[in-house]
Amino acid sequence: MKKAKLSTKDILHLAKLSNLKLTSQEIKKMESQLVETLDYVQNLSEINTTKVSPTNHTVNLTNEYFEDGIKNIRGLSEQQVFQNTKVKKGKYFSVKKVL
């Protein structure tokens, strides 16, 4: 596998996808740091995984559900809902206008 390369454009795109605002210094640093990590993890290409299925869960469970209509013991009161909220309007959370 070839060495990873991340341009400033790539970093900005990743930052947008991650919903992060980076300073220009952070962007610069990020380029080399991410590449260093990405290069290391390429060692996985040394391992043959053809026909190996991925493990999404190490715990061997299936069909874990709850029954519709059972009592809700976790409902939050109005006070609890907003006890950590910075900006609210009446019983709503408030954000600056989005499209």
């Binding site: 990590t37 993890v41 060692n43 190490t58 910075k86």
Partner: protein, 462 residues
């Protein structure tokens, strides 16, 4: 009456015989925290007095919780400025189970922000110092819990491990740390880092204490779909029956380990041999691949789990994330993104399958696997900045077990020439916590862990 250094079991005996009251016991630890926390920074928040404790087997025992466990109406920060004033309206299942057993929340301990680290230095509230040497790190991310336990600012602590975050600080601080099988203990209410990896677990001074706490927190939780209905064994009872085991020693897990640490591990293996256990060489997939698997899976899950911190319903805005968190999110976004998913995330999950099969195969030949918990003893503060994926490299001996989901325990087996603790880890098969506890308990009975804990406490008198 001398309380310093007493185990949970001993304290519970005193409480039962009314030789000390719940209130006095709580105050004892509050006093010690007030005396030593400013130099250790193990606690982020302290409860001045206990909440009305419920009646239960733990009868008012104070317990410290890593600050990623939601504790209702007690500030919970995950070590990050994003949650610096977060007051959860609910408690984690682990907290509730211990409270229902009679425990009282003593305080919340320091951690690497979002559990992203192996030294507690990335906490937004200052690093925790290693009680053995204040210029060194206690390990992480459960550094606060391990340091508090080691310096006896708490009789017991609860931490969490994604890969090494319980075992490694336990090793660097000279205490016992247990990572249960993934799915053994509920994650509900534990601020998520790596959803397919996170395991809450006890950090204690004795093996029996770890067994007791595990018994109380383990078991199916209706609010966590990844917990198993497997019956919870009576771990403390099973400890009383020492068993002979076949111990696997993986060659590859000794690569890159300091000479002194290796020496202490070999000495410990001799002790186990003398106790009659069989030793067998085993071959496991090299930890250098585990580093890659873990880095990819963990960072991918991190990028997803930190998406909810948008400051609309709670918390400060995303500019408050520290550098480490940002770096991990960016990497994780990359490894999940379109065009890269197959080469990174999927590939990592495939190698994960091979690691799981590797352990399963090995556990057919041996009962447990032993190695050093960490490649070195506690590093000096500031060393971590040299590496962009410091945590993952430091934890390379812990990652395979974490990736596979098998249980593992770290116990103190000696001190190096700098008087820093060396930890040995015992890795067991799925849901065989009783095996690793059993072997650890035998070692403790035989050696008393070489008096390591009481040696440290000489530096931290009442």
């Amino acid at each position: 009456m001398k309380l310093l250094g007493k185990s949970i079991t001993e304290l519970l005996e005193l409480l039962k015989n009314k030789e000390i009251s719940e209130q006095d016991l709580f105050n004892y630890f509050v006093k010690r925290e007030k005396k030593y926390n400013s130099s250790l920074n193990a606690f982020l928040s302290l409860e001045e007095r206990p909440k009305q404790a419920k009646k239960g087997v733990l009868s008012g025992l104070p317990i410290a919780f890593k600050d990623n466990f939601c504790t209702k109406d007690i500030k919970t920060t995950a070590g990050s400025k994003i949650l610096e004033n977060f007051n959860p309206p609910y408690s984690a299942t682990v907290v509730e189970r211990l409270e229902n057993a009679g425990a009282a929340v003593l305080g919340k301990t320091n951690m690497d922000a979002w559990a992203h680290g192996s030294s507690t230095e990335t906490s937004d509230f200052g690093p925790t110092k290693n009680p053995w040497d204040l210029k060194r790190a206690p390990g992480g991310s459960s550094g606060g819990s391990a340091a508090a336990m080691a310096a006896y600012l708490t009789p017991a602590a609860i931490g969490s491990e994604t890969a090494g975050s319980i075992r490694q600080p336990a090793a660097w601080c000279g205490v016992v740390g247990l990572k249960p099988t993934y799915g053994r203990v509920s994650r509900y209410g534990v601020i998520a880092m790596g959803s397919s990896l996170d395991c809450p677990g006890p950090i204690t001074s004795t093996v029996e204490d770890a067994a007791l706490l595990l018994k109380l927190i383990a078991g199916k939780d209706q609010f966590d779909a990844t917990t198993t209905p497997n019956e919870v064994p009576d771990y403390t009872k099973l400890l009383k029956k020492p068993r002979k085991m076949t111990i696997g020693i993986p060659e590859d897990y000794f690569e890159g380990v300091d000479e002194e640490v290796k020496r202490k591990i070999f000495e410990a293996i001799e002790v186990l041999k003398k106790l009659g256990h069989g030793i067998k060489k085993v071959k496991l997939i090299s930890p250098k691949y585990a580093i890659s698997v873990y880095t990819i899976i963990q960072r991918s899950e991190v990028s997803s789990n930190l998406a909810r911190y948008d400051s609309i319903r709670f918390g400060n805005d995303r500019t408050h994330f520290g550098q480490e968190a940002k770096r991990r999110m960016m990497l994780g976004t990359y490894t999940l993104s379109h065009g890269y998913y197959d080469a990174f995330y999927k590939k990592a999950q495939q190698v994960r399958t091979l690691i799981v099969e590797d352990y399963k195969k090995t556990f057919k030949e041996v009962d447990v696997i032993i190695s050093s918990t960490t490649p070195t003893t506690a590093l000096k503060l500031g060393e971590f900045e040299k590496y962009p994926f410091f945590g993952e490299v430091m934890d390379m001996l812990n990652e395979p077990a974490a990736i596979a989901g098998v249980p593992a325990i770290s116990i103190p087996v000696g001190l190096d020439k700098n008087t820093l603790p060396v930890g040995l880890q015992i890795i067991g098969n799925y849901f065989k916590e009783e095996d690793i506890l059993n072997l650890a308990g035998q070692f403790e009975k035989e050696t008393g862990f070489f008096g390591i804990h009481s040696q440290l406490l000489k530096k931290y008198p009442d």
